[in-house]
């Protein structure tokens, strides 16, 4: 009896495991374009991940089912679980880099800062372009040193500059910044420290006092930090946290009496998941984002008609349709699709490899007209990349949390990229020197 109990328990456990982990294998062929999906559906960041992949998969499905693929080339995708870790991110990359059943890889999205850093140099060797939207090495903006790294759309440098430009707008002009205090409460990691340099430069230019207060990971107790904020009495707080450290920051700020509508979260502190746990304390919170929340953009109408209403969405909880993370998946997928589409114009309407994908990225030019065709106007900024410039955009919008939803309260705010470029060049030159690399010349024929 005891043995049978154990056997049935083991059987049930195996059945549950098989049911919960089984994903139908993608069937690919050489006439298809492979889109690898390095996902994190389990682990500490699963709550955001499930929405990101839903956005990506819904858009890829839309391209296949409604547009018949990219110029007739069907997309095929397969997931690999990274749990947002570097080691599993590398495993997934190694599994995917040679394609799937003959379907080649044109672009690769590591989806996580640890994997992005770990793969940065590997991708250069393998000639697989990495798209790191909103994370990764800022100095990889310099395509002469990093030909296969693309921190597209909004690097942390541009984010800092957009923030200062927004505050200047709110204060009534750049001249009003002189004497103001801007405190940055940041996650004490490579990600968090990334804005120290640009904010120092911006403070010197505009004359505001630059206060930096680090929060060590995971940041689930921040009394000491917000006591320092209260003592410094800043006019604005730039919140560069991540994960649990964001709602804790917002709640602790309220406890210390700091007005939440003068806290501006960064790209990784701008989702509903960041503010919902903070409850009423988050009402009025501001956040910068390159992919605003909302389900009223044209692409959402199309997705609703062709994907969601047909029951084909990857989204398990439909109330997340149009969330920041879902929309980030849409924008990430669109960048990959448009890069391939651009490259097809040169190499032909066929599946492309990594070198061809890089060409597509470096010649990407998404203007308002193209955004309108795609249904992304307002959701995504203009993006024009080149051999020398792998960021391309450099703008963010500001959204405000009303206690239940995000409301967009600004148009695209462009960063002062010309001011920041010398800092980027300095870092990329140092990297090239350390690695003994000779930067390529950008002649326009690449």
């Amino acid at each position: 009896m005891r043995a049978s109990f154990k056997q049935s328990l083991a059987g049930a456990a195996l059945a549950v495991a098989a049911f919960t982990t089984s994903v139908p294998p993608a069937v690919a062929s050489p006439d298809q374009q492979f889109i690898p999906l390095a996902t994190y559906r389990v682990g500490a960041y699963a709550s955001s991940g499930v929405q990101v992949w839903a956005g990506m998969i819904d858009y890829l499905r839309y391209i296949n089912e409604v547009e018949g693929g990219i110029n007739g080339v069907k997309l095929v995708w397969q997931e690999c679980e990274t749990e947002w870790t570097a080691e599993k991110g590398i495993e997934c990359y190694e599994r995917f880099k040679n394609g799937l059943d003959g379907a080649p890889v044109a672009v690769y999205q590591p989806n996580g800062a640890p994997a992005a850093y770990a793969l940065s140099e590997r991708a250069e060797v393998d000639k697989i372009p990495l798209i790191t939207l909103g994370y990764g090495r800022t100095e990889a903006t310099d395509g002469t040193v990093f030909p296969y790294n693309f921190p597209v759309m909004l690097t942390f440098y541009s984010e800092a500059s957009s923030l200062v430009n927004y505050i200047a707008e709110r204060e009534g002009g750049f001249d009003k910044l002189k004497g103001k205090k801007i405190a940055t409460v940041y996650h004490d990691s490579a990600y968090g420290r990334e804005t120290l340099g640009p904010l120092k430069l911006l403070a010197e230019k505009y004359g505001f006092e630059n206060i930096q207060i680090p929060v060590a990971d995971p940041g689930n107790e921040q009394s000491a930090q917000w006591r320092q904020v209260r003592q410094a009495n800043p006019d604005w707080v730039f919140l560069r946290t991540w994960g649990v450290s964001t709602p804790v920051a917002v709640k602790t700020a309220a406890r210390f009496g700091f007005p939440v509508d003068h806290i501006i979260g960064d790209i990784w502190a701008s989702s509903s998941e960041d503010v919902l746990p903070a409850g009423a304390a988050a009402k009025g919170y501001l956040a910068l984002t390159p992919y605003p929340a909302g389900a009223d953009f044209e692409i959402h109408k199309r997705l609703k008609q062709y994907v969601l209403d047909k029951g084909h969405s990857d989204l398990k909880d439909l109330k997340n349709f149009g969330s920041v993370y879902y929309n980030s998946g849409l924008v990430n997928a669109a960048v990959a699709v448009e890069a391939i589409r651009t490259a097809q114009a040169k190499f032909g309407k066929r599946p492309l490899n990594g070198e061809e994908g890089r060409w597509g990225l470096e010649h990407l030019n998404i203007d308002d007209a193209r955004l309108k065709d795609m249904g992304y106007l307002g959701l995504m900024q203009n993006l024009k990349l080149s051999c020398r410039d792998h960021e391309g955009g450099g703008s963010a919008r500001v959204q405000q949390w009303d206690g239940a939803n995000w409301t967009l309260i600004s148009d695209w705010i462009a960063a002062d990229r010309a001011l920041l470029r010398p800092l980027i060049d300095e870092k990329s030159a140092a990297f090239a020197k350390e690695k003994g690399l000779t930067p390529r010349a950008c002649t326009g024929d690449e």
Binding site: R41, G43, S47, P214, A216, P218, N220, E221, S223
Partner: protein
């Protein structure tokens, strides 16, 4: 000077939240000599169960009661399926079992109740409260009161009841306790159930502060230096250890942090713990092991 006292008091109050987590470890260590690596996962599971029930319209008190029942049921299952087959095995074996258990509980919690971040409102305002010139947190005061009540109840349980006497006997000498007829399995069931309920209290308070999400299980990292300082076998020690860690890390962050780049809160607590290890290896209130060699 006001700023110093405010930081000190704020730190002491924050420390009581660390103590709540540490008490769960102490209970199981006292009964079995095992460091329960799964305590963080139990805390997450308890909070997630409560918030899932409450989100589905179950009234607060009933959700609390049902969660307590689930945690007791979980304790019985753990004892039956994990601990009993491993009885008389080495402590490292039991520790490894709790390590595996933590991953299973975390996976089950996310699989059954979803991975989305949930808000938890206990109805306690987390707003500034002024006592003279000192600004304190109302939420932290409530958490401190909860910790105080919990310690009192546990002290009564261990010192004034037959279960408590049995538990202390098992903790002192398991073989001797067995020889006088104390039911070891029953004691383990009770202790794991109580640790689960303590995890629920800690999970609710931490969940209200940071949201109920996977990273809730990471709050145990705050409990380790508390245990080293207070001792692994003393509930009172866990309280005192929490107060010391809370006060020290807050003062260090404010006064030492700016000198060395800041962000020192988590590791400073471990520096302190290491210092205690040099001076009092068993912690302030832990039992010193004396072995005949």
């Amino acid at each position: 000077m006001t700023f110093f006292f405010e930081t000190l008091l704020g730190g002491l109050l924050a420390g009581t939240l660390y103590s709540l987590v540490a008490i769960g470890f102490v209970l199981i260590y006292k009964a079995s000599g095992v460091f329960n690596f799964a305590q963080g996962a139990m805390l997450l599971f308890a909070a997630l169960t409560f918030v899932s029930l409450h989100d589905q319209g179950v009234p607060f008190a009933l959700a609390l009661l049902l969660t307590v029942i689930v945690m007791i049921g979980g304790a019985l299952l753990i004892e039956r399926l994990v601990l009993r087959p491993l009885v008389n095995r080495s402590q490292i074996t039991l520790f490894m079992a709790t390590l595996g258990l933590s991953f299973i509980i975390e996976g089950l919690a996310q699989g059954l109740m979803g991975s989305q971040v949930r808000a938890l409102d206990l109805g306690i305002d987390d707003v500034p409260l002024f006592v003279g010139p000192l600004m304190l947190s109302q939420f932290d005061l409530v958490a401190a009161a909860a910790a105080g009540v919990l310690v009192t109840v546990l002290a009564l349980l261990f010192n004034k009841t037959r279960i408590g006497v049995s538990l202390r006997a098992v903790a002192d000498d398991t073989t001797a306790a067995l020889s006088i007829g104390i039911h070891l399995n029953r004691i383990w069931q009770i202790v794991w159930a109580v640790a689960g309920v303590v995890g629920l209290v800690a999970g609710l308070l931490w969940g209200a502060r940071q949201g109920v999400q996977f990273s809730l299980s990471l709050v145990v990292l705050k409990a380790l230096p508390v245990l080293i300082i207070g001792g692994f076998t003393s509930i009172g020690g866990a309280m005192v250890g929490g107060l010391i860690v809370g006060a020290a890390e807050n003062l260090a962050e404010v006064y030492i942090g700016p000198l060395i780049g800041g962000g020192i809160t988590p590791w400073f607590a471990y520096v302190l713990a290491l210092a205690f290890l040099y001076m009092r290896p068993a912690g302030l209130f832990g039992e010193r092991a004396i072995e005949r060699v």
